[in-house]
Symmetry: C2
């Protein structure tokens, strides 16, 4: 075992993703992580601070790489959008449990400060996408569409597929044993769909 704090955080993500923050007790977590109940408070102080640490810890690892894309001069607007879709789907599928935890917090809005810090952490991505689209509109490559809601569509489509597994399976007409998020074919299918959608919506005909 490398770092016990990380070990606890990882187990917390697993449990929070399934049962939610309030739905997961410290005793549940301690049992799952195979540590004494008091260790959680020993390392993190309180349950809420554990959550903060969890956000802090994992938000850092999944940041970056979109800003460079914005500056890139060699790619066209639609090529950049394609790359963004790649990165986004790949990232959110890989860290989908962490993503669920974050989105649950965003939706329930349990604590003002935490929600704000999540928004702060996630929002630069939206800014990057906006810049790319607006630049391409000025360059006459893209149509003049509703940029903000187009971003909502981009992210909303992925969220719709990722957040509610039961509904997703029903939509795909698959049995309860099929886990689409582990299926690279499905990942490709999502990428292809959003790419086509954005081409249709953004590019001039």
């Amino acid at each position: 075992m490398i770092d016990k704090r990380d070990h606890i955080i990882n187990k917390a993500i697993e449990l929070f993703a399934v049962k939610g923050f309030e739905g997961t007790s410290i005793r549940d977590l301690a049992a799952a992580a195979d540590v004494n109940v008091a260790m959680v408070n020993y390392y993190f102080g309180t349950k809420e601070k554990l959550f903060d640490a969890l956000i802090e810890r994992k938000a850092v690892t999944s940041r970056g790489s979109l800003e460079e894309l914005v500056k890139d001069k060699t790619l066209s607007g639609i090529e950049k959008i394609d790359r963004i879709i790649d990165i986004y789907v790949e990232r959110l599928f890989t860290h989908r449990q962490f993503h669920r935890v974050i989105q649950q917090e965003l939706i329930t809005d349990r604590r003002e400060t935490l929600t704000q810090s999540i928004v702060q952490a996630v929002f630069p991505n939206a800014i990057a996408i906006r810049t790319i689209i607006e630049t391409a509109i000025k360059n006459n490559e893209f149509k003049k569409i509703d940029v903000q809601l187009t971003i909502a569509t981009l992210i909303g489509t992925i969220n719709q597929v990722l957040l509610s597994q039961k509904y997703c399976l029903k939509l795909l007409e698959k049995g309860p044993d099929y886990i689409p998020y582990d299926d690279p074919k499905f990942k490709k299918r999502v990428i292809d769909h959003i790419r086509q959608l954005m081409r249709d919506h953004l590019l001039k005909k």
Copy 2:
């Protein structure tokens, strides 16, 4: 006061929508509804049965009217899609608190049976949309696109805007006092965006 059960259910939706199911105590609810704590259990038995009753009660009222649209012979495919977007946005914006409660339950997947019953209740809408799109594809009105994921985009866009208010406000560059869901201009904006998006994606050029 007409019916005390309904009164409690309505208050429960308000509180669950903001603080979530686990985050709302029966004492909180009793205080908000201005009834004795024991009344909740008296009327509903347990907290979980209250939730079941809540779903049952409100799911019925928001059903119907999409099936007729499917059968309609006078409207074209894209006209039907336009109508669906109208109905959906209108319905979800109006009952957005109840919608939040349902979506939270879908995401957290707290109880197998309840999640399934929600899926059962919500899914006919997806079926209706699918039928309309598939028919229009056969009629050569629509392109051959990924029907299932297109539905995910349709619903996902609305959810993205509805579920996380803080993120939505940030995206729209509005202050914390602005409540977009009460603004008819914003509702129209969402409808216009999704309509344009679906036209671009579905119609042949």
